[in-house]
Amino acid sequence: MAADKQTLLDYYRKMVLIRRFEETMEEHAKKGYIPGFLHLGIGQEAAQVGTMATFAPGDYVLPDHRSHGVCLMVGTPTREVMAEIFGKKTGTNGGRGGSMHVADFKRGNVGNNAIQGSTMATACGLALAAQVKKTKAVTFNFIGDGTVGRGEFHESLNLAGIWKLPIVYVLVNNGYAISTRATDAHPLADLAKMGCAYNVPGITVDGNDVEAVHAAAKEATDRARRGEGATIIELKTYRWQGHFSGDPASYRPEEEVKTWKEKCPIRRLRDTLLQRKLADMAALKAIENDVEREIQDALKFSIDSPAPTIEDALTFVYVGREVTGK
């Protein structure tokens, strides 16, 4: 069933938002505004948007380190995500987390943990809580192809398998873990098939086709919501930039990058919209302009916002126990 016009236009807006968000981050990282590591999701917008389209209030998501886009999808204002990446007090984490730890608990974003695979253990607990509290909450656990190597992948899937945990494992297979090819790191080409060891179904789809991504995510989410347990959805895609902003990524052939850029998920959706006559160029341009205003607003907000202060370094270490400063 093809998605309707409104849905597709909504996807379009979101994908453009993520793209522009990431481009803006990259630009400002180069200019020296953004401290630390910046892992960009350019090229992976369909995977992020299509999956998160099935996220409902009350659900939980554990984004990964390449998931600014996912953080935007739970409804956190773009300003707050961006300000966090700038390390500002107005960010989701008050500037304490940065790019790798953006969290917004009240909207279900439980935050990333920069130890790859660690969130897979956490996911079990979010899903367990849903069972204990008898809610219908589904947990979305984003991981990359590289992260599949970690022991927690196994411990989490095994537990999800026996306890029928309501988890959607969103396995974004962009072909690389830093320089290591997925095909050099794992014996199977389709990583979703690894669910076979746990009686957890796996679906592999073209991660640049937002409709296909959404269909797979919906199947998985519905299954989880019905209490039938976890699913792995593997989204085959590509990251256009290096591993982090600044990585020249000389470990991969230029030809490969070029091929994948031709498969741009945003261009693809635009073509679909135009072909199906659901929008004309003017309508799309209007969306893009609207996104641009949002980005520029967030950027100004992020640049203008104050940094945390040294007092902030001493709060929230413990609940109810003070820590002394200098």
């Binding site: 984490n93 304490r96 253990a121 956490t122 979010l126």
Partner: protein, 326 residues
């Protein structure tokens, strides 16, 4: 008053807290059907059902990850790691997730988990079933380590730990499970971070915990009756953060200190306590602080090896004489 053993006291604490607080859940290997390898979780499954009392696969990272995730959702998980030596397998979850969650996410969340685990030597069970692990976590801000030495404190501190909003590692010395003592029937929480003067004295301060506390008391008794040396014995009860005030006020009085801890000497918590005493009570000291610890070797199998390596009352007596004779 009624007498219980250490294990029964812990078991009663769990029964009472699970009854009064439906957010408390229990998970771990063999905790449900069998009631725990040491029997501490007996009867919980029957009384509170499969949702709240869960046997897990042999997956320590998933156990602590699940506890974290459930805690993020408002539950109060009590996880069992069968032997403290196995905490190596979930070290990441504790160090990088539980300990930091509140800080990293700017106070948006708490991780009120309790990780119960059997620690310490004396069981003739060699390298991987004998270790004292508190020092492994001493340098990790955000963690709390509790270590009772009597059935009374076992119950009160476990209830205190469950009610505490921070992640707590709760050490149960395996040689204490069978020890008995008076335990009130009603639920009561002992404060975290507060030591207790078990025996007042004037000549030397002895600081100990868990099984060594009993050795310290025995040594103090002997020194009093045979050598007229009056030792003040302090039971730490919380190892991190430890109760500086109680220690320092005793040191002010005695000027001589013996620290007792079952872990190898290099880098045990005795080092930190010694350093703090030097910093804060240098002028009060009449002798350097003495440390009584295991030798800096692993715990071997043959009883003669274990008995030589682990400190006993004679080592404490000798250390007291040393600080007296200095």
């Amino acid at each position: 008053m009624r007498t219980l053993n250490f294990k029964e006291a812990l078991n009663e604490a769990l029964h009472q807290e699970m009854t009064s607080d439906s957010r408390v859940i229990v998970l771990g290997e063999d905790v449900a059907r069998m009631g725990g390898d040491f029997g501490v979780t007996m009867g919980l499954l029957d009384k509170f059902g499969r949702d709240r009392v869960r046997d897990t696969p042999l997956s320590e990272a998933a156990i602590i990850g699940a506890a974290n995730g459930a805690a993020f959702c408002g539950l109060r998980p009590v996880a069992e790691i069968m032997f403290a030596d196995f905490i190596t397998e979930c070290y990441d979850q504790l160090v990088n997730n539980s300990a930091k969650a509140r800080y990293m996410f700017n106070g948006q969340v708490m991780a009120p988990i309790v990780v119960r685990t059997s620690s310490g030597a004396g069981f003739r069970a060699a390298y991987h079933h004998s270790q004292n692990i508190e020092a492994w976590f001493l340098n990790i801000p955000g963690l709390t380590i509790v270590a009772p030495s009597t059935p009374h404190d076992a119950k009160g501190l476990l209830i205190g730990a469950i009610r505490d909003d921070n992640p707590v590692i709760f050490l149960e010395h395996k040689m204490l499970y069978g020890t008995t003592g008076e335990v009130p029937e009603e639920p009561y929480a002992l404060p975290i971070g507060v030591a207790e003067v078990k025996r007042p004295g004037t000549d030397v301060t002895i600081v100990a915990s868990m099984k060594q506390l009993h050795y310290a008391l025995a040594a103090a008794e002997r020194l009093a009756s045979e050598e007229e040396i009056s030792c003040e014995v302090i039971d730490l009860r919380t190892l991190k953060p430890f109760d500086k005030a109680t220690i320092l006020s005793s040191v002010k009085k005695t000027g001589r200190v013996v620290l007792v801890n079952e872990a190898p000497k290099t880098g045990s918590i005795n080092a930190e306590i010694a350093a703090v005493i030097m910093e804060e009570a240098f002028r009060d000291l009449s002798a350097p602080v003495e440390r009584v610890n295991s030798l800096d070797v692993p715990v071997g199998f043959a009883p003669v090896l274990e008995d030589y390596v682990i400190p006993g009352p004679a080592d404490i007596t000798m250390a007291v004489r040393k600080v007296i004779d200095y």
